[in-house]
């Protein structure tokens, strides 16, 4: 298995475990679980804002990763990025199903976006969640608003680029451009912080 030269030693190890999992190696699954289950669980908790659901998504993710491990291609991304994409997809599916349910009842005095409002306490802006999201929010906070908004809607809320365009009232091309520029800037911020 040829690995990209810029893989870290941890990523190399994880890629090898994925390779072994592709051949049915359960201990390799255990090892990979040990390496990545905590950041993944954290990510799913942030997306779903529900610890129990996040735990279920974590388990489903590793099941799916195990079954798809043979298809992992290190040339297309790091093991963690590949796994978190699979898991994020599962989490977003759940989020969409949840969105389809009736929302909390709000009376006429309800003010959405109220930071201390338990009527919108699933909102990312509650102080509790602000802390949880700190790791990425800090980096996102350094982006211009349009890029940050587009990335948050895409990454945390699972909206498609068309939905984001609709929500923000912007042309699709502008949203795509914001997403690309946002990711570029995020990469720069990441490098600066390392």
């Amino acid at each position: 298995m040829k690995l990209p030269p810029d893989f870290t030693s941890e990523e190399r190890l994880a890629a090898q475990w994925l390779h072994r999992m592709g051949k049915g190696d359960i201990p390799a699954l255990d090892a990979l679980y040990g390496l990545y289950h905590r950041p993944l669980l954290h990510l799913f908790s942030v997306i779903l804002k529900d610890d129990f659901a996040a735990e279920e998504v974590l388990q489903d993710t590793f099941v799916r990763v195990y079954r798809a491990a043979a298809r992992y291609d290190p040339q297309l991304g790091t093991p963690f990025a590949w796994m978190s994409t699979i898991g994020r997809r599962i989490a977003i599916d759940r989020l969409r199903k949840r969105r389809a349910r009736p929302v909390l009842v709000a009376n006429e005095r309800e003010q959405l976006g109220h930071s201390a409002d338990i009527g919108s306490w699933n909102d990312d802006e509650t102080p509790h969640m602000r802390v949880e999201l700190k790791w990425l929010r800090e980096s996102l906070g350094e982006l211009p608003d349009p890029q940050r908004q587009a990335l948050e809607l895409a990454f945390f809320d699972g909206y498609t680029h068309a939905e984001i365009a609709g929500k923000l009232g912007k042309p699709l091309g502008t949203v795509k451009s914001d997403l690309a520029r946002g990711l570029s800037r995020l990469r720069e911020v990441h490098l600066e912080k390392r």
Partner: protein, 411 residues
């Protein structure tokens, strides 16, 4: 240099926003373009960095569920079966190393014993699995027993060193496991303590907030001390928990937690609820403020109980308020409020999202050990608090705005 459209496609791919044919086409391009692959990896590193996450505790207990879902008939690793997953991460390797080193050491010691007891070691003999070439590589001639002995002694010394290192590793891993288990136990106990706190809390304030029209609207704000506020330290989650309890009552929507216990403390909030309509502050009588109750678990508080939450148990200065819009009154619960400087007293201020200035509410009543509950109201129609702060103000003449040391603040 990558064109803008390709870069945008790479961004959409990383964000998992490409689907169907578009995704397949992109992956084909990706396979043939090292530059594009590098771009994708660069994008993912900014977004998916496991090291940038504060990961929280390990959850080995969830691994068994994965095995179960996979239908894996492979036996679970021993530590996971024992419910102590952390051991599995380090113990087996240390043990394997130690065992291997011990076996090799014994074999070499046996060989050395044979050599010293006069067993002939002729040219071309192989020693304890060491090929002749290996001996020669070590700079000795295999025909000479002394260099061979030297070689073996050197090897035994090295193996002894490795064995000692493995033993240290084994001991360290055992020690680490014990420390982690102890920490886990402490965390569990700590969490259980807070869980009990939440239940008692619900029992106390739910009677007050029980809706009479099925459409109450509440605002919950959690408060921390000035240092925690400045560093944006993690909150205890009171606000979320209080929100859960309120939602669980069915007055807004949602499902009650299975172990939901309130409202059970009959009459606990009624006395103060009756006076909460008055302006200013009314302390809610409570008995012992720091009663530690190990036997209580998460059992419902018996009706009529006035037992206070475990206010002083953890020594943290925290608090939260629940504000009821339709009745325009608030419940404030405080734990371990620091003593204000001499000559000053804790003073409560609130601010709505519509105004920049804080509204003065009043001095807090004297709280036992800095812990207690208070009901309050504000002389402002249709008020909803967005921020709340307790400061140490002049004990006789408070100013018109917060000017003293901040004791608690939220959100």
């Amino acid at each position: 240099m990558m064109d803008r459209q390709t870069e945008e496609l790479a961004a959409l791919y990383v964000l998992d926003l490409l689907e169907g044919q578009e995704r397949e086409d992109f992956e084909r391009r990706l396979a043939g373009s090292p530059e594009l692959r590098r771009q994708v990896r660069d994008f993912t590193r900014g977004l998916h960095d496991p090291a940038a996450v504060d990961p929280g505790p390990a959850r080995w207990d969830l691994l068994a569920g994965i095995h179960q879902k996979l239908g894996a008939d492979t036996p679970m690793p021993e530590p996971a079966r024992a419910g102590s997953g952390r051991r599995r991460a380090s113990l087996p390797w240390a043990f394997i190393w130690a065992s291997a080193a011990a076996i090799l050491l014994l074999m070499n010691l046996a060989l050395l014993f044979l050599l010293e007891s006069g067993s002939p070691a002729g040219k071309g003999d192989r020693f304890a699995g060491i090929a002749e070439g290996a001996v020669e590589d070590a700079g000795v001639e295999s025909a000479d027993p002394d260099p061979i002995r030297q070689f073996l002694e050197a090897r035994i010394r090295r193996l002894e060193g490795e064995l000692s290192e493995s033993r240290s590793l084994l001991a360290a891993s055992e020690e680490t496991r014990e420390v982690l288990e102890r920490e886990n136990r402490e965390v569990r106990e700590y969490n259980a303590g807070w869980q009990r706190e939440y239940h008692r809390l619900a029992a106390r304030f739910l009677p007050f907030f029980e809706p009479n029209d099925g459409m109450g609207r509440f605002t919950v704000i959690e408060m921390v001390d000035a240092r925690a506020f400045a560093t944006d330290a993690p909150r205890r989650g009171f606000a979320d928990l209080a929100g859960e309890f309120l939602l669980g009552q069915g007055n807004i929507a949602g499902t009650a937690p299975e172990d939901f216990v309130g409202p059970v403390a009959a009459g606990a909030g009624t006395a103060s609820a009756a006076s909460a309509g008055e302006l200013g502050l009314t302390p809610l009588a409570r008995s012992e403020s720091t009663a530690r109750s190990d036997e209580s678990g998460t059992e419902p508080v018996p009706p009529g109980s006035t037992e206070a939450p475990l206010a002083g148990e953890y020594g943290e200065a925290v608090g939260f308020t629940v504000w009821r819009d339709d009745e325009q009154k608030g419940f404030l619960d405080i734990y371990n409020l620091p003593d204000p400087p001499d000559g000053s007293a804790p003073y409560l201020w609130v601010r709505s999202s519509e105004f920049e200035d804080y509204l003065p509410v009043g001095y807090l009543p004297e709280l036992e050990n800095g812990s207690g509950s208070v009901f309050y109201s504000v002389e402002e129609p249709n008020f909803t608090p967005a921020e709340i702060v307790i400061t140490a103000e002049d004990a006789v003449q408070p100013g018109s705005e917060p000017s003293g040391e901040i004791l608690l603040r939220g959100p």
